[in-house]
Structure formats: structure tokens, C-alpha cells
């Protein structure tokens, strides 16, 4: 376990190797997107249309979603591992490849959690957003969301192995699909035309949107947790089997 903690630590340091200053543009962009987004929802929700969520719930949903965005839809280095020379590092160490990917990813979250999420959480009362979870089941749901996120990420990584030099395109399509289907940008229950009923059972809906629904009290925790557990049970074995079969097909051309 110590080796994985050390890997996470190295990954954390790697994010700030060039100096914390170089993370500033990303932090500014995140803040400049989050604050107008909060006000966009204020404008939208003040129209008075009943969508089964109060304005406070919606603001909390948006705010927490932004603060924990890296965990809501997990993205590991495997996305670009064929073109960025990540493979050499992963296979050159006496550790599990997937274990390393998980440790690296979690370590990489820490700088942004400290430099963006923590300060924004502290000033949330000024913006008028409550960050108290409606249910303690949120923690369990978040862990299941992260776990499922890693499984989905491994499957996309296997797809990039299968399709060889299409990692960039796969990454774009994946970002687009998860943005809509995960409910992290727009809660799935707010989708019009009956889409919400159809969409809530697909695996992406068990990512960030599911945990945020529990956090804000906008969903039934037991029903959400049941779906998250089911998708974890289905997708993890599939991911491991597909990954095992895909490994020999890896062709890396980057560095």
C-alpha cells in the first residue's frame, strides 16, 4: 500500500513541479465558469417552473459538482497512454498497472482540491450556497461513483488500444458523452421530453450526478446506491477482462 501512496504523492508533486503559479490559469477559468453558472441557475430557477428541485438544491448541486469535478467523472492518464509515453512508466515498475493509474489519478487531484475546491468551499456562504450534505450516504455514493468512474475509464482506455491512434478523438467523444449523460452539468431529472426517465438507468448516470442528487437530497439514496452497486458489479469484471485481453495489443508511439 505504501508504494501506491508514494505513487500518489509523486503524482501530486508532478502537478506543481513548474510552480503553483502555473496552475493559476486553470483555477481562474474554473472560478470564472462556476460563478456565472451559479447565477445562470439563479436566473433559470427564478422562472418558477416546478422541476422537483428548489433553487438552493440546484445551486448546491452545481457548486459541489464544480468543487469535486475531478471525482465526478474520473479521467486517468490511460486516456492518452499510447501517445504520451505513459506506458513505459507504468510497465517499468513492479506494481499493478491499474493500481498505479488509480494512485496517480488520486494524487493528481490533490493540488486542485487544495487550491480551488477548499478556498471556494470556504467562501460558499458569501455566494449563498450551502455545502451541508442532505444525507451521510453521500460519502458511500461518492466512493461508488469514483470506483465506477475508474472502471469506465479503463474501458475507454481499452477502446483506445483497439482503435490505435484515435486516442484524441476517443477522448473528445467520451468528454461529450459523459458531460450530457452523467448529469454533472444538468441534473438528469431536469431533462425535458421524458429523457430523464430513460437516462437515469444508464451507467453514466451513476457517476457524479447520482452522488450530487444524494448530497442535495434530490434523489432517493437507496435507489441511487442500488444502481451504483449494480453498475460497479457489472462493469468492473468486464473492465478487468477486456483490459487483460487488450494489453498485448498496445502500440505506443509517443514520448
Amino acid at each position: 500500500m505504501f508504494k501506491y501512496i508514494k505513487t500518489a504523492h509523486m503524482s501530486c508533486l508532478q502537478e506543481t513541479n513548474g510552480g503553483v503559479l502555473y496552475l493559476l490559469p486553470d483555477i481562474i477559468i474554473k472560478i470564472c465558469t462556476l460563478i456565472p453558472l451559479v447565477f445562470l441557475w439563479k436566473v433559470v430557477m427564478s422562472s418558477g417552473v416546478d422541476v422537483g428541485m428548489t433553487m438552493d438544491q440546484m445551486l448546491t448541486y452545481t457548486y459541489v459538482g464544480a468543487l469535486l469535478s475531478d471525482m465526478m467523472v474520473v479521467k486517468t492518464a490511460a486516456t492518452g497512454w499510447l501517445s504520451e509515453g505513459v506506458l513505459m512508466r507504468l510497465y517499468g515498475r513492479p506494481l499493478s498497472v491499474i493500481g498505479q493509474l488509480i494512485a496517480q489519478t488520486i494524487g493528481g487531484w490533490i493540488p486542485m482540491l487544495l487550491l480551488f475546491s477548499l478556498p471556494m468551499a470556504l467562501i460558499s456562504p458569501v455566494i449563498g450556497v450551502s455545502l451541508l450534505p442532505a444525507s451521510p450516504w453521500f460519502i458511500v455514493s461518492l466512493l461508488l461513483c469514483i470506483s465506477l468512474g475508474f472502471a469506465i475509464d479503463v474501458l475507454f482506455a481499452c477502446l483506445s488500444i483497439k482503435l490505435r491512434n484515435m486516442s484524441w478523438l476517443i477522448s473528445r467523444i467520451r468528454a461529450a458523452i459523459t458531460a450530457v449523460l452523467s448529469g454533472t452539468v444538468i441534473p438528469i431529472r431536469l431533462l425535458p421530453l421524458g429523457l430523464s426517465e430513460v437516462m437515469k438507468y444508464q451507467p453514466f448516470a451513476c457517476l457524479g450526478g447520482a452522488s450530487l442528487s444524494i448530497f442535495t437530497g434530490a434523489g432517493d439514496p437507496l435507489e441511487i446506491l442500488r444502481l451504483q452497486v449494480i453498475w460497479n458489479i457489472i462493469l468492473w469484471p468486464v473492465a478487468l477482462i477486456v483490459f487483460k485481453k487488450s494489453q498485448e495489443g498496445m502500440v505506443s508511439y509517443g514520448g
Binding site: G18, G19, Y22, P25, D26, I29, C32, T33, I35, P36, L37, F39, L40, V43, V44, S47, V49, V51, N165, M166, L169, R172, I173, A175, A176, I177, A179, V180, V185, I186, L190, L191, P192, L193, L195, G255
Partner: protein, 282 residues
């Protein structure tokens, strides 16, 4: 030496880029089609978010659902133009600077300016969003029963060109950092462009002034689709003149040009240390 730069010569340079794009499409059709689909899906996911909210709530901040559709079509056309004219990192110019690839451009018998303008043209594989945006625009204009006159079409073209100038100018302004910090700032144009793409689709109508004004001054996100769309709908926001985006584009371009030239002078004197002798990038 650079020959005389005429309109014919510039069209010829665009044609070279277009020909290479067509060759890619014909030679590697499967990959090119996946790229076209990826572009379309990526944009649809961004604009559909705002549109679905408008549909669910019957509009946003005083803008009707059809007006939001019109605004999203403007955004889609801009995305299309961006992809169609910016395919060779010529808008993500910090990558070219940061990777030391400006040296490759110095040996061409063309000025940097002409190369940057013409080298990223991909009309065959990069036009999907432009076409989708035009179709959306026609549908939304029809639903809004807009009075389409030659003057209105002219102003549409002017606003589209202005938005593109603002995107170019902002990208070149922030990319100037890559002259001084090539590794750290290599991807700064991506942060400035892709990082703010979602923000640029927000309809700012109904938002408080302290949100609207910074997005029309400090950051140019209000010009990416909201302000020009409102002008084309005949309701310039905040009692500003419809010429405000043009004035903003001019000022931003002048600032970007000044800062970029300073950075270029620095680069010419110091060079780039990104490549090691055996070819790898540091």
C-alpha cells in the same frame, strides 16, 4: 524570398491546405470520418445543455427557447469556423511557440502572418459544425420570423468575423507567455479557448451587471455568441451600441499584436531549448 502577396496568392495558399485536407479524407477515410463525428458530437453536447435547460424552463432570463436556439446556432457556426480555419494549431499558437516549432515556420518563404492565417484551413473534414450551425440558424430564424435582409446577412458575417478576431487575438495574447515559459505555457491557449468554451455559451440575459460587465470587458466570453446574437435579434444588451464588439475586437487585437511582437523579439534573440540533439522534446 517571399513573393508579392496578392489575393490570388492567398487563395492559392488556402487551396494548398484544402487539398491536403481532401487528401487526408481520401487516404484515411475511416479516421477522418471519426474526426468529423467527434467534432459534431463534442459541439452538440455543449450547446444542447443550454438548449435543453431553455426547453425545460421555457426560456432563460427573458430569452425565448427559439432565441436560445438562435444563439446556440451562432455558437455552433463559430465552433465550425474555429475548426475549419484553426486546424494546424494556428489558433492554439502557444503549442507552436512552446514546442519550438516557430523555427519550422521561419524557413518558409512566407511571412508568419500569412502562414498563420492560411495553414489551418480544413474545409472538408472541419466543416461539419459550420454546416450544422447554418442549418440551425435557418431553422431558428424561421421560427423567430426574423426579417432577413441583405444588410442583416452582412451584419451576421461582420459579427462572425469579429468573434473570430476576438478568439484569435485572445489566443495570441495569452500565448505570448509561451515565448518566456515554453514548457509551462505550451497549453495556455487551450486553457483560454477550450477552458472557457462552456462559459461562452451562457445566455447572460437576466444576470446581474457584475456578471455581465466583466464578461464583456475583462473576459470576452459575452462576445462569443450572446452579445452578437442579441444584436442580430435587434436588442443590443446593456444599451450598448451594436458596434461595441467591433471596437472591443480592435482594441484587443492591438494589445495582442503589441505583446506578441515583444515576445517574438525575445524568442528571436533567445531561441527555444525544447529539443534535445537526438530529437525528443524536453
Amino acid at each position: 524570398m517571399e513573393g508579392k502577396l496578392t489575393i490570388k496568392r492567398i487563395i492559392g495558399l488556402f487551396s494548398i491546405s484544402a487539398k491536403m485536407d481532401l487528401m487526408w479524407l481520401l487516404r484515411d477515410t475511416k479516421f477522418a470520418i471519426v474526426a468529423i463525428i467527434a467534432d459534431a458530437i463534442s459541439n452538440i453536447s455543449v450547446v444542447s445543455g443550454v438548449y435543453l435547460i431553455a426547453l425545460r424552463f421555457g426560456g432563460i432570463g427573458g430569452m425565448s427557447v427559439d432565441e436560445i436556439l438562435f444563439m446556440m446556432s451562432y455558437s455552433t457556426i463559430i465552433t465550425g469556423l474555429f475548426i475549419m480555419f484553426g486546424a494546424s494549431n494556428n489558433i492554439h499558437v502557444s503549442r507552436i511557440i512552446g514546442r519550438g516549432q516557430l523555427d519550422h515556420m521561419f524557413i518558409q518563404p512566407l511571412s508568419l502572418k500569412v502562414q498563420f492565417i492560411t495553414c489551418g484551413f480544413m474545409p472538408f473534414t472541419g466543416s461539419s459544425n459550420f454546416i450544422i450551425g447554418c442549418v440551425m440558424l435557418i431553422i431558428s430564424a424561421g421560427r423567430l420570423k426574423l426579417n432577413i435582409t441583405p444588410w442583416w446577412i452582412f451584419m451576421l458575417i461582420v459579427y462572425l468575423a469579429t468573434t473570430m478576431v476576438i478568439i484569435f487575438a485572445r489566443a495570441y495574447l495569452v500565448s505570448s507567455a509561451a515565448f518566456y515559459a515554453p514548457v509551462a505555457a505550451e497549453e495556455i491557449s487551450s486553457t483560454a479557448i477550450e477552458g472557457t468554451w462552456q462559459l461562452s455559451t451562457f445566455p447572460l440575459s437576466g444576470m446581474p451587471y457584475f456578471i455581465q460587465i466583466p464578461l464583456l470587458t475583462i473576459l470576452p466570453e459575452g462576445f462569443m455568441c450572446w452579445f452578437p446574437s442579441m444584436c442580430l435579434l435587434g436588442r443590443p444588451p446593456l444599451n450598448l451600441t451594436g458596434l461595441y464588439p467591433l471596437i472591443y475586437a480592435l482594441i484587443l487585437s492591438l494589445i495582442a499584436s503589441y505583446i506578441f511582437r515583444k515576445g517574438l523579439n525575445f524568442y528571436v534573440r533567445k531561441g527555444s531549448n525544447r529539443y534535445v540533439p537526438y530529437g525528443f522534446r524536453r
